[in-house]
Symmetry: D2
């Protein structure tokens, strides 16, 4: 049995989504809905912990949100406060211990934690704590935070968390659930998004605002980099930005790839609507790399906004040239005999009647290994296209991400070792052009300002705003 991984692996993957709520009688149900809206950020596992004023309730499992939580299981997740987590994890084996929210009992009582992002000095911190007697239950980088909180000598939980985070380096949006309430924290660089929303009853925190829309919450504002928020029966309390080191104020480094691909187009991320940014990326792309063609098509669904932008700016008609099968599950039985471009065919099919004899601009958001792009180009060619001009609505990806995105190694990134011409030849397109870094930021800012300030561009530039230390070394499997 061959899995769709081969296809899926040719994309970057967001590693997690988090959702929290306080003050609603159906906190568990709304967290289920929130995770459901955030399913695109993690499909491997899901978990919810609720608190009803007396006891905590937990349910975690492998699979999609809809599979992990049955009606009976949701009923058992009673309470007015909850946090939840979707996980994307490529490491195989028995990883139920790694499914979040992590839970533990400390002197401060029960504590549940959900983490979106990735720590770059977790191994070092872990070794230090093990040396002084800590017992780790998972292999997640996140667990070190739980132990550091348990060991903090501060009295209030919020102070313990700040204390714990002083030693932690990396990208993290964190949600905590304790008897004292719901706590949210965003790292000082603000790599991953975290927003606050308001219900008629209670408050919610989520990775993306699309989760607010589904539960009927209104967007209030982003949690600021380095900011912590506590929600409980007294209301919402914001804590001053904290810094690892007061002398060295951290540089804001928001992930620009959230705009390019990860976030849902209907979300509001880093205070901008994703769809609008993507459409502008397509317009900039058309301006930078015009081409004489008959029609513009997208690689669905992520390439659609940029393709619409390209079409509008270039004045070339937008068409649907590739149809996506919406029932794609996780595993497939691949026939042993070769079927042309099989991997891509599971998910996409070309419409010959649209493409035959045409000069086609194909807009996609990124090329990772190049294997999928090659199959798509060949599929379009087989459908009769006369010319195929691939346009990518972001710069070439040359470096892996260590801040919470599942990316291939540098060796596997085709643009890390090949020129644009070489890639064009490999994918068999008639032309291939990428959007420039400046063009990308002009689209992001919706201005002539092409500056990358306040954003992380590591995957495009190789410049890592948070030093990496041992980040490339992965923790060996525990059990």
């Amino acid at each position: 049995m061959k899995t769709v991984e081969s296809w899926a692996q040719d994309r970057f993957h967001e590693e997690c989504a988090i959702f929290g709520i306080y003050g609603h009688p159906e906190a568990g149900n709304l967290t289920y809905l929130g995770l459901y809206a955030l399913q695109h950020r993690g499909q491997e596992a899901s978990g919810i912990v609720t608190y009803d004023g007396h006891a905590f309730h937990s349910r975690k499992g492998m699979g999609l949100v809809a599979d992990v939580f049955s009606d009976a299981r949701l009923k058992a997740l009673s309470g007015h406060a909850a946090i939840g987590h979707n996980r994307y994890a490529t490491s195989g084996g028995n990883t139920l211990e790694n499914v979040q929210p992590l839970t533990g009992k400390t002197a401060h009582g029960n504590l549940a934690m959900a983490h979106n992002g990735n720590l770059v000095n977790a191994d070092l911190l872990r070794s230090e704590m093990e040396a002084s007697g800590a017992v780790f239950q998972s292999t997640t980088d996140s667990e070190v935070i739980l132990h550091r909180i348990a060991r903090s000598e501060e009295t209030r939980l919020t102070d313990k968390i700040v204390d714990a985070l002083h030693a932690v380096r990396g990208a993290y949006c964190l949600l905590f659930l304790s008897e004292e309430g719901l706590i949210g924290v965003r790292d000082p660089h603000g790599v991953r998004p975290l927003s606050l929303g308001k219900l008629r009853e209670g408050y919610v925190l989520a990775s993306e605002s699309c989760a607010f829309d589904l539960v009927g919450a209104d967007w209030v504002r982003d949690i600021e980099p380095g900011e912590m928020v506590l929600v409980n029966e007294k209301g919402v309390e914001f804590f001053q930005p904290f810094f690892h080191n007061a002398a060295q104020a951290p540089v804001k480094a928001q992930c620009v790839f959230e705009y390019v691909y990860f976030a849902r187009p209907d979300s509001h991320i880093f205070s901008r609507n994703v769809y609008q940014v993507r459409k502008r990326l397509g317009k900039e792309l058309a301006r930078e790399h015009p081409v004489d063609a008959d029609l513009v098509i997208a690689v669905p669904d992520s390439g659609v906004p940029a393709a619409l932008g390209f079409s509008e700016a270039a004045g070339i008609a937008y068409e649907t040239g590739l149809i996506r099968n919406h029932y794609v599950g996780r595993t497939f039985i691949e026939p042993q005999q070769s079927i042309r471009n099989f991997g891509v065919k599971i998910k996409l099919n070309a419409i010959r009647e649209v493409l035959a004899g045409k000069r086609v601009v194909v807009v996609d958001d990124s090329i990772v290994r190049g294997t999928t792009s090659r199959k798509i180009v060949k599929m379009i060619r087989a459908a009769g296209a006369k010319e195929i001009h691939m346009r990518i609505s972001a710069p070439p990806i040359v470096s892996p991400c260590f801040y919470g995105i599942d990316t291939p190694t540098r060796q596997e990134l085709i643009a890390a070792s090949h020129t644009g011409d070489e890639i064009q030849k490999y994918i068999t397109a008639d032309s291939l052009r990428y959007l420039s870094m400046e063009g990308m930021f002009r689209a992001v800012h919706n201005s002539q300002d092409g500056s990358s300030a306040h954003f992380c561009t590591a995957c495009f530039s190789g410049q890592y705003p948070i030093p990496l230390a041992h980040a490339e070394t992965r923790q060996p499997a525990l059990f």
Copy 2:
């Protein structure tokens, strides 16, 4: 627990897909893929029967194709010939007996059968056969065909089938698998589609050509109304069209709603590409019912081609105003407190930044009960749209279908008892217009010919080309 049925029920549903193959060493695997590509035609249950020259192998189950067939189960489905079936069924309870392919042992040997369509005189035939000692195992209308074949006094299986079908009235595309080979039949009216494809090794028959693309088969031609085809080791044999009654040659009555909504846009149905027809429907709609507006959006995904056509013909920019969640499963936990437009929000979300302050044309393919359209209009309004003009790319639906489509009763069809103005008021749109019957057929024919000849328009016109008899009476549940 509330299911998404409430939402899903506001669409028509194709009741079945069929796929057959002969002469390929991986017949079971390719049937799995074929059913997978045809998943949109039936999501409730699925089954495959294979034949390996010695024994038949069968696997049927409730759920999606990907859930019913595991790797181990597919391995057990060995053989060079196979037929498969996807089923949509609203009747609840223990319906495993009703999952197709139906199988039975007759004097002629083992016989498996898969049916897409619906018979209108099944009850009568069933009563007759029961009176003479037949034992029925399922409550499907299809089983009467199996019994009639078993009772035929003809010698060859193909003759038995023709004999059996002489008494049968209704819509049917049938696939049979026997020791003699794979047989396909299309009813004399040709209501549902059935096409023949060719692999490097062997032949395939499928409801839609999108299944050919996935398995790597080339489209050969449609099976004609009233035609039967036999595929075995000797090749492909076509049988002359048969008629119920030679004196009264049947009228071709292909389902125009396959173009409007059911079929996948990348399929070739009744010899035309579906996407192209849909886009022309949008163009005709723009010509018939122009409107002064800022942008055109679609109700995704089915409304997209018509919206693009509308945009092109009207010269109004096409935008993505509604985002679809692609992880929608079958059941949801609906919060008890009212969240505005909850049912639709599970699947769709409006992008405020696109819609706010705009005059918006919303293109959809049909309005069934009106409840979903109302929620969509309200969702768009809540996102700030200034004006909302609903445009439907087909005429009003005034009558239920009895030829293999799951439709509400006439009472539930809003257009059966309400004027366009009343519906517009109900769905709270600023204007509402439907495409005319002539406009629809101009789009279908891609000419000025607005004639409905050769097509069934019963759901739009109430004129049923095949007399209904007892069709409205549903068979009571057996066990």
Copy 3:
């Protein structure tokens, strides 16, 4: 993975249990309990059909009663009348179609049927009916009865059943559930047992009376060979014994092996208590084959009553020498390296402190292939026994059963081709003796009458009271 089959296959197996009830508001629940008490007669699959006056409800599945019926599933089995079936089936593959009760819709309405026994002319009848247009859904011999009933030209269901059974040869206890009530029939030879019991509300029919005890019913009487009983709202109606051919009154041929091994010791079968018969078998055995020994042990649990009888008659102390693991499930992971006598060790363990240095009489009810007896003797020897005298509380098994018991072929029956001395040598016992045919019937009759009249002794004598015809040919798998 090695299954316990290897061990289990060295026993005969009852192929089915049936249970029916009429007139109790919890008919489904009580059928569940009845099947549960009859689990020893079939562990492969189970099914219940109920009738609530309006509709029939059905649930069938593979596995033990406790696994097939969940609380929710039992709730759905509402009604005041029900029949149920436990099945033992060695044929592999997808046999869900073969799980009983069989159900079908005929001109007479819905009919469910459960069968304990085996027909010897099913293939012939099946061929005849297929030739005249019947469609068979299962490969069970039982289905021919359903078709014959559907084709009967009688008016009343009871008459249809009699009509249908006139052509049927073999062993059968049948239960039918229809809108007219619950019907029970026992074949004219009375091979398998069937008893009537009475509840405070309603009546029950069961293969063995132990099912009555669990549901709180009182034993009324056996259904006579050739008798039919109808239970409905009017009460209980008995029908005169029917015969295949009035000229040739059938000979009573009750299965003596029900006493030897199949039935539960607390059951009342053929009007005698099974435990008492078994104890007398042990006493006769001691009288026929005395031995000088220190203790008597049983192969648990089936050998215990005979061992107690042997001990009592011989005046040798009874001891527990073999302990049975009561958690034995269906599958085991057998270590690759040889562990002595592994297959038996899963289920039995010898107590060295009881056996070491002793002359031991081991009482068992039968030897089938001899492989298990050999392992048991070796296990007892390894525990230190000085002498091992095997005593079997029935005659040697020399012929297979075709009347509803799953037995090996004649080639596999060790006593069919080996003398007692050869078997003794093979199983490595110091002596081996079987009870004589006369001794067995003296025990059955509890008198000096050693006559086998009214009993089937085919497995011991090779004399088949019902002619076999094609019984040895098994029907090939359908799907």
Copy 4:
């Protein structure tokens, strides 16, 4: 749905079984078999951790051994060393975190631990460790040991364990699996049993010797109270008994109830065969409390050995009067209308033909609440017994156990607050007698020595050899 708990709760329950192995290529498979043989000591959950020299592999789940470990899952449990655990736990809810072996990563590497017994000062130790920053993942008392080991400043793992155990009070047999090998420890009082066995390849440690028999190991000797053993590639190393406090050598306090009820009769516990002890208990009982009767029966299966002993000493015939259903699962659908003695009937049935008109001695091992005994006496009476004399092969149970046995509270123990006469009246027996403490120990020692020295008799005497501290307070559920 009513569960059999009501019945099962009228017994004491062993809370755990442990099994470990080192030096065998199929360590995982043999651990599966060992746990299978020890299933009677815990049926709620099961887990195995293996080590293959490079990585650890773990599988834990709720349910019986045969349900938790499939063939595929056992294949994944590769390695030459393993430990396993069966758990009995009454606390409901999501307890997967509590299933053992517990696992954790410490500075010393990966460590897995399985515990049979119960600690009496776990809460205190837990609070202390939480106060200094420990994060607990389960609510088991056992987890404190893991944390104390992680915090020990010793260098060798064996020293860390001794160091950790110095503060621990209670009953414990522990198995550890680490990169250094397999370690077993028995508490200084030796409350629970632990034996060492030898395979042709490698060594095993198990709660009871019946596990050795199934895997083909020879019994070597008991692990002594306070002793630790390390098995690795160098062989077996025994560590001197350690004491909590050198000044106060601990008193041996082996659980006498292991002989009375818990252990399997084929096991060798505390150097004696259980079956032989139980038979002697019956003999002592007959001597202490003779009665004029017609037959002796047992409450199966646990009462059988004592009943045989009673029969032998009293010269009254032993009979099988109660039949046990061996297919009893965990849940039952109890009919709403009352069936007499329903709870017991699921598991037991009386044989009228044996009991009617007889004066019957019924031997059981214990009376806990009395409700089951009452039902059994009534069932025997209903079967026609003339007189019923209940004989119990142990003294009255007057106190709960806090050393690893699941017992009701003192209030629920009928003998804690009622005289023998009152209990006799409640259970409706004609007479009721218990074995004396001295009689019990005469049987244990197989001599006239009725001394309880070296044994714990807390449940019979209320004298607790290990001070209880906070043992009665149960830890609240964590998540």
